[in-house]
């Protein structure tokens, strides 16, 4: 392996493996990437370990792609280690970027999660009330487990992040563009999201079907209506996060005839995706009076879980207050 090639690391924290699959899905392009860089750490595929990374000089890795949110003590440790060793850290995918779907757990805390998983789930048989412990003894041998936190954090809660590669999972074009920009040294300002700064609606094929003035009289859940494959979802009364969501995803969900759920996060101008959607949404409600508004808003069955589906941990809400749980 040449020392001249830029050194690249990949790591995952509290995520599903989909971001890793998105790398495998580059198919033949992955071989080009492998030829251009020196992968020094990729636990999924290669035999290097934490100690090897610790032994590297600080800043010797050109770029680390880290996916997943942070919810366990060991994930925090690894993120900090890679930050020390890397010139650039990219938050790879919606979980590292925003917290992602596992961030919905921020409506709860460790004890409520444990209570459900280890005690009250209907198939659990746990008369003794056992729970996983950071330290246990098994037949006299001491065992340790990584600690589970109350809160899921996006990566930039824990370490300084240079760039964000959005999406769940990121579109292959965005991955290729990001890698190319890094290899060619043509990087945007620090803190940039490596995707177009426009809304999902801007590129949506259904945009033309959107009336000049959208007016929603009634809100429908996706299962309540036969979804027209050509018409704007909002025009059909179905909540679509497109207006509050960054584009560049290839509108793959919409091509699958299902509305956007916001995995790309907000555009640059917007801090809070859920708040942005609410303001956009309020402007298209066809309401005559306050009562009408109330009726329409009440018909949204899970506003927080819908508007913050991917972004709760990075939103102004961050998490539900613990006292408020239960």
């Amino acid at each position: 392996m040449s020392d001249l090639k830029p050194k690249v690391a990949f790591y995952w924290c509290s995520s599903c493996g989909g971001c890793e699959e998105s790398i495998v899905d580059l198919a033949e392009d992955i071989l080009k990437v492998v030829a251009a860089v020196d992968i020094v750490f990729w636990p999924v595929a290669l035999d290097f370990k934490k100690k090897d990374v610790e032994a590297m000089p600080d800043k010797s890795i050109a770029v680390s792609f880290i996916n997943g949110g942070i919810r366990m003590s060991e994930q925090e440790e690894m993120a900090q280690l890679l930050r020390r060793k890397s010139q650039i850290v990219v938050a790879h995918g919606a979980c590292a970027h925003l917290g992602g779907i596992p961030g919905l757990a921020n409506f709860w805390n460790k004890s409520t999660v444990f209570d459900k998983v280890y005690h009250t789930t209907v198939s659990t048989d746990n008369a003794k009330g056992t729970e996983p412990q950071p330290k246990t003894s098994l037949d006299g041998y001491e065992l340790t487990l990584s600690e589970f936190w109350d809160t899921v954090h996006p990566l930039d809660d824990i370490i300084d992040v240079d760039y964000y590669l959005p999406g769940c999972a990121p579109h292959r074009d965005l991955i290729i563009n990001a890698v190319t920009a890094i290899l060619e040294g043509k990087l945007p300002p620090k803190g940039s999201v490596l995707a177009p700064n426009k809304s999902c609606c801007d590129d949506c094929e259904r945009n033309d079907s959107k009336p000049d003035k959208l007016q929603i009289k009634e809100i429908k859940r996706p299962y309540e209506v036969l979804l027209d494959p050509k018409t704007c979802f909002l025009a059909q009364g179905v909540i679509c996060m497109g207006p509050a969501t960054r584009g560049g995803c290839g509108e793959r969900c919409i091509n699958g005839n299902m509305p956007c759920r916001g995995c790309m996060g907000p555009t640059d101008q917007v801090h809070d995706q859920g708040a942005k959607f609410l303001s956009a949404f309020a402007s298209i409600l066809d309401a005559n009076d306050e009562k009408d508004v109330e009726r329409l808003v009440d018909s949204i069955v899970d506003p927080a879980g819908t508007f913050y589906r991917f972004s709760l941990p990075s939103s102004i809400l961050k998490r539900k207050k613990l006292e408020a749980v239960k």
Binding site: S14, C16, G17, G18, C19, E20, E21, V24, D25, A27, P43, V44, A45, D47, K49, K50, M72, E74, Q75, M78, P102, L104, A105, F107, V113, K116, V117, Y118, T121, V122, S123, T124, D125, T130, E131, P132, Q133, T136, L138, D139, L143, L145, F148, C168, A169, R221, Y223, E224, P229, R252, I254, N255, G256, N257, M258, R261, V301, D302, G305, T306
Partner: protein, 486 residues
Amino acid sequence: MTQRITIDPITRLEGHGKIEIFLDDLGNVERAILQVPELRGFEQFAIGRPVEEMPRITPRICGVCPTAHHMAATKAVDAVFHIEPTPTARKLRELIYNAFFMEDHTLHFFFLGGPDFVVGPQAPAAERNILGVIGKVGVEIGSRVIRIREDVREIMNHLCGKAIHPVCGLPGGVAKGLDEEHRLKFLETAKAAVDFAEFALQIFDDVVLKNKGYVEVVVGEAYKIKTYYMGLVNDRNQVEFYDGHLRVVDPDGREFAKFKPADYLEHIAEHVEPWTYVKFPFLKKVGWKGFVEGKDSGVYRVAPLARLNAADSMQTPRAQKHYERMYATLGGKPVHNTLAFHWARLIEALQAAERMVELLQDQEITSPDIRRLPTQTPTEGVGIVEAPRGVLVHHYKTDEKGLITDANLIVATIGNAAAINMSIEKAAKAFIKGGQVSEGLLNMAEMAFRPYDPCHGCGTHAWPGNVPLILNIRGPRGQLLRQLRR
């Protein structure tokens, strides 16, 4: 003096699974366990969500097998709304599901599990990966592997929006139909998939079955545990991935139970241990007796070999031929040899490909009749599919608005959680004697869990694959005596 050996799959780093082996005073193995140190708690944060969103939320349990969670969730939502998909929608779901099985199984064979055999158990670690496989079988075949995977995933991308985290499932149907142009295109892909699955079996035949040394490893006692087996079967007791009844056979291969998905709680319960975040499912009517084999222990196994053991036959003719050959070669049913999971996986890939062809030859699959609208009040429902890695259960209860009030998930990999621990312990006992730990142990211990394709994305997220290992042998005060790595 006791010793402790830690095999740390650094792929999951300390974060995602490590093996601890404890030696007694004589240096023989007393216990071996796999710790899975990760948890996300989907059952809890499902609460309050609209149930129809679960097919879009739960795939994030695992990006390696999101289609399995998507389909189990979609079927559970059907049940919650008391509705069945239209015949065309069901066919489309089955097409998506068989395409997913085909590509996932072949991914495992060529990228992940296969290198053990294709490149060889003793090959250097640097070659035990897809590139090593390409080196062994040739670049042309290597790019054929990459291409067929891409083509089959194109079917999923077209029908489900995204192969990684599909969106198409709705109660009573699917969101998007299939037109004639794409049917014809995908039919060609499906035929190529059949050829490819046959070709993979041919490679298995040439490389493994014709090599006496490998066959001895496959049938060896070190990789054999006698357990119950569970799998979905259709109405003819044939191997089925998408729908059907769950059938359980005992360690002698006799039917022990057969039940509807909705009745799973009468048969399956989960045990909790304090040293790992995963739970251990067991057969309720036998009971949890610890990590032990045999008829008196409720431990059961799931996934390819378990499905073949639990069924009477395959659904499709070519796969059936290979099924008969496997049992003839390995001494009849049930087969307890853990390494036979690899063989069974390829036979299933062939059935999945053959089913893709059958479904795409059926003109009804292009009908626009792809949705039924629910009319009944949502209540409670169970959806069970076979994930590539085993039986997958989604169970939701809702209020009258369809908001979730309780959820239970039994994910595929943990169906084998107890068996994986037992397999590792058995291999460790076979290969570590009198404190002698050879380099070969690393390969051998690793090979004891890879057949299960342990996708801990579903229990955590251990990439089901080429897990580089480090093995620490420690003295009683934890001091490092020796380190082996590769």
